[in-house]
Structures are given as C-alpha cells and as structure tokens.
C-alpha cells in the first residue's frame, strides 16, 4: 500500500511501487484529466504539480511521491493562480482538441507561481516541454500573459 496526498485527499493505493504516478492517477484514482502522451517525459501531457513544482507523472514512480502533495487538473481551480489561468484559457479559447491542455495549464500555473510577470523567453523556457499538435502556442502564450495581468 502506498499513501498519496492527491488534491488534498489522502489515498491508499494498492499498486506496484514502480507504477508511474500517471497510471495510478488515471486507472486507480479515476482522475483521468491527466493525460498519457508519450510515457517518456517528452510531451508534458501528463504534467501535475508535486509540492507545487511541475512533474511529468508518466516518468515518476508512485513510490517517489508517497507523502508529497500532488495536484492535478481536477483541483487546479482550488488555488487562485489555477483559477486565473483557467479563466484566461477560456477567455481566449486556447483549446482545440484539448488533449494536451491539462498539462499546459499545470505548467503555466507552475510558471506563474514562480514568476508573476513572465517574459516571452520565460514562457518559452517554462512551456517548451509541453507539446501541442494542434499548435495552440500563440494562444497559450497570450493566455499566460493575460493571466499574469489578472494576477497583478
């Protein structure tokens, strides 16, 4: 049994310790907002926050995050920055297919938590690990700036 703190809830999971956090979230806890895209930390679709920092949950064994605070897209609106980022995403209609957007939003929340006024270069650095095949990048950038404005 592995104990996880996910979105403020303590959960006991009966999974193999090498199970990636991604699959524990999706298949065991039914938190399917976090997506599988590559399994190799190459695309960022599985990004969650662990103690506030972005992590690719496909490449983190569940045993490594035991006892740490995991935040997924399902609870991102429980914190102010998350709510503001979500609102910016909706205002600018960033999404297309939407599959990568949970990961994009988690990375954006992590960026804005560290840096309230990111430059374009800051955005490039923080977001270049998150692929979007629909290439919604123009609007992702705009939405992060929009959220930053709203956070002032």
């Amino acid at each position: 049994m592995i104990q996880l703190n996910v979105n403020g809830n303590l959960q006991q999971l009966d999974v193999a310790p090498d199970t990636p956090l991604l699959w524990a979230l999706r298949d065991t806890l039914q938190l399917t907002g976090t997506k599988y895209g590559c399994g190799e930390a190459l695309c960022g679709a599985c990004t969650v926050l662990v103690d506030g920092s972005p992590m690719r949950s496909c490449s983190v064994p569940v045993s490594a995050v035991a006892g740490r605070k995991v935040t997924t897209i399902e609870a991102v609106d429980k914190q102010r920055i998350g709510k503001v980022v979500q609102a910016a995403w909706r205002k600018l209609d960033v999404v297309q297919c939407g599959y990568c957007q949970s990961g994009q939003i988690m990375s954006a929340v992590a960026l804005l938590s560290q840096n309230r006024k990111p430059s374009d270069t800051d955005i490039d650095n923080a977001m270049s690990g998150n692929l979007c095949r629909c290439a919604t990048y123009v609007r992702i950038r705009a939405a992060i700036h929009e959220a930053a404005k709203a956070l002032v």
Binding site: V15, A16, T19, P20, W23, R26, D27, T28, Q30, L31, T32, G33, T34, K35, Y36, G37, C38, G39, E40, L42, C43, A45, T72, I73, E74, V76, D77, Q86, W89, R90, D93, V94, V95, Q96, C97, G98, Y99, C100, Q101, S102, I105, I123, D124, N125, M127, S128, G129, N130, L131, C132, R133, C134, A135, T136, Y137, V138, R139, I140, R141
Partner: protein, 734 residues
C-alpha cells in the same frame, strides 16, 4: 434531401408516439443521451421538443444540437451549433452539443453520399444548409405553438435569444415553456432562412462550447473510458509491415500482476490486464517470434531511389492542356527541380485507442469516431452482425489530422479482434503506446516530384510539366471508386493537376507504385501537403529565373482566379511585401516569402518572414495569412485553425520525417519525431476576406501554403531553394 428525411422521421415519431414524443428515460437511451465527450452519460430532462434529428429543446430551456461530426479540435461542435442556433434564434448560453449516434440514414455527410463521417474539411460546408433548415424548422414550430396558445397571427410573433414574444398582446414565453405544444405543431414545409445581414451568431465572436471541460480535466476522450469489468489491452506489433506471429511465449507476461490473458490476433499478440500499466509491462515481457518471410524490407532511401528512376519515364496523365512538348521545344530557357517528401506520422497527442463491448444484441464502441459507416461495416463483418447493430459513442478525439478516419478501420478492428479472441467476456480498451502509434503506419505517403518550366524568348512562362511518384491513399479505401479515375488517384495530384496559374501548356502525370506495402493515409491537407510545396517553391525558382517579383508574377498568372488573387493581395499588403525587412544580428540572414494555394475550396495566401542563422538553423518569425473561406461562421475559430495549421505545417517542414531502414520504422517517440514546440512558433496574423459565399472548410487549408512560404523566404535570405523535406540546416550553413 436529408432534412426532409429527418422531418419525415419526426412525423413518424409524432404519429406513432403521440404525446409520448420525446420521452426518454436516462439509461435506456444511452446514445441519445450522449453529451460532448460524455457519450452515454448526459442526463436529460423528461420532456423534449425534437423537431428533427439535429435539435432537441427541453422544458428546462436547454437547446441541444446534435452534431453528426467529430470534434477533434477544429471547433466543429461549436460551429455546427452556431449555424442551427442562428436560425432558431436560440439563447447561445442555453445551447449544448451532443455527439450523434452512428446512423448514416440521418447523419450522413452530404458530401460523402450515404456515409457518415468527418473529414476533408467538409463539416461546415456540408451542414450549412441542412442545419440552417433544421433551426428554422424548430423556430417555425415554436412560433406556431405560440400563435396557437395566444390566438395571435404567427406573422406578428418575434423570436430572440430563446424567447418568443408578441408585442401587441405583450405575451412572452421561453422555448422551454412552448416545447410541449411545439412538438404537436405541423412540420413546416416552406422554410424561410435569414438574410445574412440579420445574423446574430454567425460571423460573430461566439465562444467555443468545449473550452470549459477541456480546461478542468472533465472532457472525456476514448483514453478516459472506464467500464465495469473492462480490460486494457496493449499489443505487441510486428517489427516490419507484413510480418506475422510465428510463435510466442506468454509465460513472463502472465506473471505480471494484473495481467489476465494473452491472445494472438492477426495484428500481433495482445496482453490484457486490469489496468494500462500492467498491460504495458506484460506486453514488454512477451517474447514473440515473428515470421518475416513476407515482410517488407526496403528502406526509405531505396524507395526514393526507385521513385527517382520511375520519374524518368512518363506516368499516367492526370492533366494535359495545350501542347507542352512544343512549348519546351521552343523554350529559350528551361528551369528544372525535383523534390523529395518523406513519410509523415499524424502523431495526434492522444495515441490511437478504442473501447469495444460485445453484448447480446450487438456491439458498442467508444471512440473518437471519424468514420462511422466504414467502422460499422468493418465491425459488423467481423462479428457477424448487421451494421446497425454496431452502436458508436462518438467521443472527443485528442487530435486526428486524418488518422482516426481510418480507411481500413485498422485500430478499431484490432480492438475488435481482441474482444473476439476472448469471446466477448469483457469490454476491452485497446491502448496504443506512443511507439505503437508512430510505428503502425498509415503515414502521409513518401513522394518524389519532378518539375520543369519553359520560358520563351519573350520572357513568358509558356510550359509546365509536373511528374509525381507516390503511393495511392485512395486505393483500397471506401472512396476508391469515386476518387481514382483511369488509374490516377485524384488526391495524389490535387493541387498540382488543378494548378491555377495561366500557363498555356501544362502536363501533370503520375506514377503510383503498387509494390510498396507501407500503409498510407490522408494527413491534414492530403495531396496539398506536398503539391503546394513543390508548385509554390518551384514557381519562385521560375520567378527568379525570369527576374520577376514572386507576388507580381503570381498576380499576373492569377488574373482569371479572383479568389486566389484576392488572398494574395491581402496577405502581401498586410505583410508589407516590398518593404525592407529589419536586418538580423551579424551573421543572420533574413528573408520574406509568399505562397498561395486553394484546398477544400478555401483560398489561403501566407507570407513568411524568417531568420537563418550562420549554422543554417531557421527561425520563422512571422506569418501573415489571408483566408477566403466564404462566410466565416466563427472568425475567431478561423483564426485559431490557421494559427494551428501553420504550426502543424512547420512541424513537418522543420522536423517531420518517418524513415524506414530495412523495413523498420526508425522513429518511435517525440525525440525521434519532434513536433514544433512553443519557442519555435512564429507570431501568426490571420486576415479574413469578407464574403457572402457559402462557407467552405477551414481545418486543413491553412496547412499547404505555410511550408512553401517559409522555403521561399529562406531562398530570399540565402539564395538556396530547398527541395527536400524536412529542411536540413546543413544545406543553409553560411
């Protein structure tokens, strides 16, 4: 006419069901209760007014628009609902969208004849009239109900934002209040559609309906489906196309906790487990021996070498006008170039997957479903069912770019074979890992083009010969009979055979190799994904040889094509064509390039600005795009689609290449096949030509001009015309 069929169906329902019309019990009508991305789950109110197959109005004022087309990112759900809501005069806030069940009698793509499916940028274009009429019919019946209830003339009744009112009597009612009575009104036969100047939703800033659920993790994709007792399957696929299973040892796989079964299927060996990670571990623990005696063992280089040989001989003529041989015989100058285009994977963010449950009365499918009718027939054939016994829940697709419109129902059948191999004892979710998705084939075909142009002694472009070599996408697909004419696959030559330029002597011919078994498929913009590149960059080479400005030459040659010329002019103006570019840093070379192309009846011109570094790496700085897609149903979505199309095209131009080595696909994940990332994305400006013409597609047409515009900008910066994709920085090093 489809609308009439739908109305007849309603008459039937009305007649046979009387007052029970529109009574649905949640749970008994799964498909009918399908919400967007939530097929089978959307609870619905007790009473509805359902004037046709596309509209249902609840007594709670909810207006449900039924979408016959897949939402795979292109804004289709929102666009279709906008069309219907416009004529209905609905309150946009109360509009929701539901994916239609698989039923080609009601939901066929009007451009595809009797088949239901999404593709070819047809969703808006084929639905425009159909959904306007569906909305107008609903509105007329609501007005009829109000007129009856208030005893006032229907002509005096107004409808706006979901409210029906009569000014003189001060009567007023919501759609929901009138729903029950509206259901009893006669179905109108003479529908009056709005004058476009009265549009309140079409052409305005309507927000996407799926933004909310796609930003909180609630949007449901196939990957997210969980059914009671469901098993997850991960498959060991053969290492080469055409190889089959010789034998396998499931011992180690079965010892993985969670693994329930291991079965052989025609596509390989499937490991079934209670969860995805166990299934993957089980699959990786399998040892499979493959029979490769019939496997394809050529590499991309060898395929290309064959194609280059073929290009030396005449192919089947796709287009001929004038007397090209004579034009070349008399030419003062001949320009030649040849081009190589690699295989490309679609690489949607959601790798292919499919859920199938076999029951007593048929089978149920959960899928980002793009090809309902084809998949119904394929599954019916395998399971010994009638096509209508295959019900399909159309979920959101995490991208497709053509991949989910599988010409051979490949991954859907793979899931079905697994279900069959376990005698249907559990529902199965087939999950492809990224490597499965990238190596399974169904690529944009590898192509070789050879072009030559004749310029006469007076400096006029008098002749153009274009030869293409590449596999047919349509061969063996459900569209083969209509799309292959006299041996020429029309999508192999689209964009080339219909070259818009006024060149008096034109010949386009095609070789279609039959002995390359690499599975190929339509990839966002299909033939235009390569023909726009070769024609538009070659034209720039010709312009250079003629000493003409690329925009001026195009304008001259497009005199008879006002919509091409219109977008070209607009893009050139907005981009400041002819004005000097701001110079780069020392060692950097900058350039501007243009391309114009029509695909799916939509006209797009793009102007690129690039910076080429000393090491030859290319940065695309700015793209200025002009679009003529008829009436822009949702201008912001048109902009979004063109922005995304530019990024999608740049992925391929800068990085995209699937290569075979001795028959094996060399790439497996995003390290070997890297899509564009945010730091590589240019700024994109999109300008829309105002139009009153019927809407045409926008999902694909932004793709074709992007790569040639960038290549032409690179040529302007460096003098080097790139003829092999993806771009190789080594070719551009200073």
């Amino acid at each position: 006419m489809n609308t009439l069929e739908n109305l007849s169906r309603r008459r039937f329902l009305q007649g046979s069901a009387g007052l029970t019309l529109g009574f649905f019990l949640p749970g008994l009508a799964d498909a009918a209760a399908a919400g967007p991305g939530k097929a089978g789950e959307g609870a619905i109110g007790p009473i509805h007014f359902e004037p046709n197959a596309f509209l249902r109005i609840g007594t709670d004022n909810t207006v449900t628009v039924i979408s016959k087309h897949l939402e795979m990112g292109q804004g289709t759900y929102t666009g279709l609902a906008t069309i219907l809501a416009e004529e209905l005069d609905a309150d946009w806030k109360t509009v929701r969208i539901e994916g239609a069940p698989a039923d080609a009698k009601r939901y066929n793509n009007l451009f595809w004849g009797p088949a239901q499916g999404t593709g070819g940028s047809t969703a808006m274009a084929n639905s425009w009239e159909q959904l306007r009429k569906a909305g107008a019919a609903g509105r007329a019946m609501l007005v009829g109900a109000a007129a009856q209830q208030w005893s006032v003339p229907a002509a005096e009744i107004a409808v706006r934002d979901g409210v029906v009112s009569h000014a003189k009597s001060k009567h007023r009612a919501t759609f929901g209040e009138l729903a029950e009575l509206a259901a009893k009104q006669p179905v109108p036969t003479d529908l009056k559609l709005k004058d476009p100047k009265d549009f309140r939703l079409v052409g305005k800033a309507v927000k996407r309906k799926d933004s909310f659920d796609k930003t909180n993790g609630q949007a449901r994709f196939t990957q997210d489906v969980q059914l009671p007792g469901m098993l997850v399957a991960v498959v060991a696929h053969p290492p080469r196309f055409g190889a089959t299973v010789k034998s396998f040892d499931a011992g180690r796989a079965k010892s993985v906790k969670g693994v329930v079964d291991v079965v052989q299927i025609p596509q390989g060996v499937a490991v079934l487990a209670t969860d995805t990670w166990s299934a993957k571990k089980g699959r990786d623990a399998l040892s499979v021996s493959w029979d490769e005696s019939h496997a394809f063992t050529l590499g991309s280089d060898e395929i290309l070498a064959r194609y280059r040989e073929l290009a030396k001989t005449p192919g089947l003529v796709a287009h001929q006008s004038g007397d090209p041989d004579q034009a070349f015989g008399k030419a003062a100058k001949v320009v030649r170039a040849s081009y190589d285009f690699p295989y490309l994977a679609h690489a949607a963010m959601e790798p292919m997957n499919c859920v199938i449950r076999l029951g007593d009365g048929g089978c149920e499918v959960w899928n980002g479903e793009q090809m309902q009718t084809g998949d119904q027939h394929a599954l019916a054939g395998l399971f010994g069912l009638k096509p209508e016994q295959v019900s399909i829940h159309m979920l959101y697709a995490g991208g497709s770019f053509g991949r989910r419109a599988s010409s051979h129902s490949d991954y859907v059948l793979e899931a079905a074979h697994i279900v069959k191999a376990i005698n249907g004892r559990a529902p199965v979710k087939l999950v492809w890992m990224r490597e499965d998705d990238m190596r399974a084939g169904y690529y944009r075909p590898l192509f070789h083009h050879a072009l030559e142009a004749a310029v006469d002694g007076d400096g006029r472009l008098t002749g153009w010969r274009h030869r293409l070599v590449g596999q047919s996408i349509m061969a063996g697909s459900p569209f083969a009979s209509g799309m292959i004419k006299d041996g020429v696959d029309l999508v192999s030559v689209e964009g080339a055979a219909n070259l818009p330029y006024a060149i008096p002597n034109l010949k386009v011919d095609l070789h279609t190799p039959q002995d390359i078994p690499v599975p190929v498929l339509w990839w966002r913009s299909v033939g235009s994904s390569h023909t726009a590149y070769s024609t538009e960059t070659f034209l720039d080479q010709v312009a250079a040889a003629m000493g003409k400005d690329p925009v001026a030459l195009r304008q001259e040659l497009l005199a008879q094509h006002p919509r091409h010329a219109g977008v070209l002019k607009l893009a050139a103006e907005k981009a400041g064509w002819g004005t000097p570019l701001k110079p780069g840093k020392p060692g950097e070379r900058r350039g501007r390039g243009v391309a114009v192309h029509e695909s799916f009846n939509t006209f797009v011109a793009e102007v690129a600005e690039v910076t080429v570094a000393r090491d030859g790496s290319v940065k695309v700085d700015r793209m200025v795009c002009a679009v003529d897609c008829g009436i822009a149903i949702n201008p912001d979505n048109v902009r979004a689609q063109v922005e995304g199309a530019v990024g999608f095209a740049l992925s391929a131009a800068l990085h995209g290449e699937i290569t075979l080595k001795a028959g094996r696909v060399e790439q497996g994940n995003f390290d070997g096949y890297p899509p564009l990332r945010i730091h590589e994305m240019p700024t994109v400006e999109v300008h829309i030509v105002p139009s009153t013409a019927a809407p045409t597609g926008i999902g694909e047409p932004g793709v074709p001009p992007a790569a040639p515009a960038v290549a032409n900008a690179i040529a302007a910066a460096t003098g080097k015309h790139l003829t092999r994709l993806p771009f190789n920085p080594a070719d551009l090093a200073a």
